[in-house]
């Protein structure tokens, strides 16, 4: 079977871990949930760092744990990025990168040393001592170190959470390009909805040791019954194809179905697949296609769900003509005025759209 198959049941401290899910063996799967929901335990069990009796961990049909078999962590072809970079302080940056690299037989190396170093922009750091690095640099080295073992599966445990806001923004593009350019399936633990929206292809939602839902990121992000849609900065992901660069205005048009969405100008070639992100609070609704507005992005859609959030607001789930979904957060007052209900045809006005990995 292709992909990652996980079944784990164990009492851990004061809660019961009880998860079973299968995710595709490609792309990035986010394990998302509040602190203490058991995400890290799942990751550690997949890595073989936590021994869950009678657990099952299989990757592409290969058994890492099942039926009394337990492959030791160091015999699993995985890369693990910890929350704190945890670099070896007795080794230089280069020594850290080479630590796993030299243990992988040359025939099994799928990523070149120079490729990884360049991708993460850590070339100038190679001779440095680890203690002299900034938080963001450390985490980039830790990611590089994990990648250099040519893992079949990359496990990342909130790799950005120990970083400040600026460092986080600095490292996200590296994660995105990693994701784009290397096709290493990853399991990514996070409790940051924004990170998940940026990176995830697939989401496993966890709460109190259980799986609430598991599915494609675009769908789960907009499901009104799940916590992701209810965050203040709830966001939707739309996939499209670069259609046109409007250089005069520094705009790029992304084709979505029959429609086009304008985003800030980018270098991506025409025809490449991209993901754009739009926050629910930046999406408003109109009954007609008004062109006398400063808003460029105006798309026909159909209401496919409405849910109250708090006393004054509504969260509206909308489906574009090609089936992709997005969210709009409006006041209850506006909802009443427009008569918003399921099945209603509307136009969505999107004030701000961000191209992911621009």
């Amino acid at each position: 079977m292709n992909g990652l198959e996980i079944r784990l049941q164990q009492r851990l401290g004061d809660f019961q871990l009880d998860v079973a899910f299968a995710v595709p063996g490609r792309g990035l799967c986010a394990l998302f949930g509040p602190s203490g929901s058991g995400k890290t335990s799942v990751l550690r069990a997949v890595a073989g760092l936590l021994r869950v009796p009678a657990g099952v961990v299989k990757i592409d049909g290969e058994i890492w744990q099942a039926d009394g078999r337990f492959v030791a962590a160091h015999r699993r072809a995985l890369g693990y990025v910890f929350q704190e970079a945890s670099l070896f302080t007795h080794l230089s940056v280069e020594g850290n990168l080479l630590y796993g690299w030299r243990r992988v037989p040359p025939a099994q190396r799928r990523l070149g040393f120079d490729t990884v170093v360049e991708l993460l922009g850590i070339g100038p750091l190679l001779p440095r001592a680890t203690l002299s690095l900034s938080g963001g640099e450390r985490q980039r080295v830790a990611i590089g170190r994990a990648l250099l073992t040519s893992p079949r599966l990359l496990l990342m445990d909130e790799p950005l959470s120990a970083l400040d806001h600026a460092a986080r923004r600095g490292i996200l593009p590296y994660l995105e390009s990693l994701h784009r350019e290397l096709s290493i399936p990853s399991l990514y633990v996070s409790h940051d909805a924004n990170e998940v929206a940026h990176l995830a292809d697939h989401i496993v939602l966890m709460d109190q040791g259980r799986v609430l839902a598991s599915g494609g990121a675009a769908v789960l992000l907009t499901r009104l019954d799940l916590p992701l849609a209810q965050f203040d900065d709830a966001t939707a992901i739309i996939e499209g194809t670069v259609a046109l660069h409007e250089h005069d205005y520094q705009l790029t048009w992304v084709g979505v179905g029959q429609e086009r969405i304008a985003v800030a100008g980018t270098e991506r070639p025409v025809g490449s697949r991209v993901r754009v992100q739009m926050h629910a609070r930046d999406v408003s609704l109109a009954m007609g296609a008004r062109r006398d507005t400063s808003i460029l992005n105006l798309l026909p859609a159909r209401v496919c769900g409405v849910r109250e959030v708090g006393r004054a607001q509504l969260l509206v789930r909308l489906q574009l003509e090609d089936g992709q979904t997005l969210l709009s957060r409006i006041t209850r007052r506006s909802g009443a005025t427009l008569g918003v209900h399921e099945g209603l045809s509307v136009y969505v006005q999107i004030k701000s759209v961000a191209l992911i990995g621009a």
Binding site: H74, L78, F82, S86, F88, Y99, G100, R103
Partner: protein
């Protein structure tokens, strides 16, 4: 003159051999004490720490009984054709190893405990086997503990007196180490010789401790 240097040379030889033996035996012991979860680890831990509080004469007394011709270890060594250990240099090494054990094991154990799980887990996810994790990660990261342990073990053995007197006696060139020589000189009212040896010890001990502190500062 040869007479004069003999105890010094013997003492350094004893301390060096004892330290090496302790590093070899103490490292796995410290590792186990740092990482085991069994309840009886504290039992062994206490046993290791015993020489810290026990008067050396008590230790020496029991060692004498144990290693002597009537003791179980003595009978064993005798039947193996090795003779008995008391009043030999080998006997001193055995006594010193036990006497200085906590001074070597404790710092190394503390250093291993301070490492925590993380570096070893990281190494495991980087394909390092348990043995490689130990030698490539745990030992280098615990280096300050090894330095402290080695220095303390060495210095403590140099200053040993009670145990040696009990099991080694006073045989020149075989068991007459510095501290015993000083004692002898004082007994014989040879103050000048006692001064030289005692003063030398004082300077040596100070230099060792000072160098250790400097080294640790450098590595922090």
């Amino acid at each position: 003159m040869a007479d004069y240097w003999q105890p010094v040379w013997l003492t350094l030889k004893l301390a060096t051999i004892t330290t090496l033996v302790l590093l070899v035996l103490g490292t796995p012991l410290a590792w186990w004490l740092a990482r085991s979860r069994t309840w009886w680890k504290d039992l062994l831990g206490s046993l290791v720490a015993l020489p810290l509080v026990l008067p050396p004469t008590v230790l020496g007394f029991y060692l004498l009984l144990l290693l002597g011709p009537q003791g179980p270890v003595g009978r064993l060594t005798d039947s193996l054709g090795l003779g008995t250990l008391p009043f030999t240099f080998a006997g001193l090494v055995v006594g010193s190893v036990i006497y200085s054990l906590p001074f070597v094991v404790q710092p190394i154990r503390n250093a291993f405990e301070a490492l925590g799980e993380r570096p070893l887990e990281v190494a495991a996810t980087l394909r390092a086997s348990p043995l490689q994790r130990f030698f490539d990660v745990a030992v280098p990261l615990a280096r300050p503990g090894f330095i402290t342990g080695a220095v303390l073990g060495f210095a403590h053995t140099v200053g040993e007196f009670g145990v040696i007197l009990m099991i080694g006696g006073n045989i020149p060139g075989e068991t007459k180490v510095l501290s015993v020589a000083i004692y002898d000189h004082v007994e014989a009212l040879e103050w000048t010789q006692a001064h030289w040896l005692a003063g030398g010890m004082l300077v040596f001990a100070f230099a060792v401790i000072f160098a250790m502190y400097r080294l640790q500062q450098r590595w922090q």
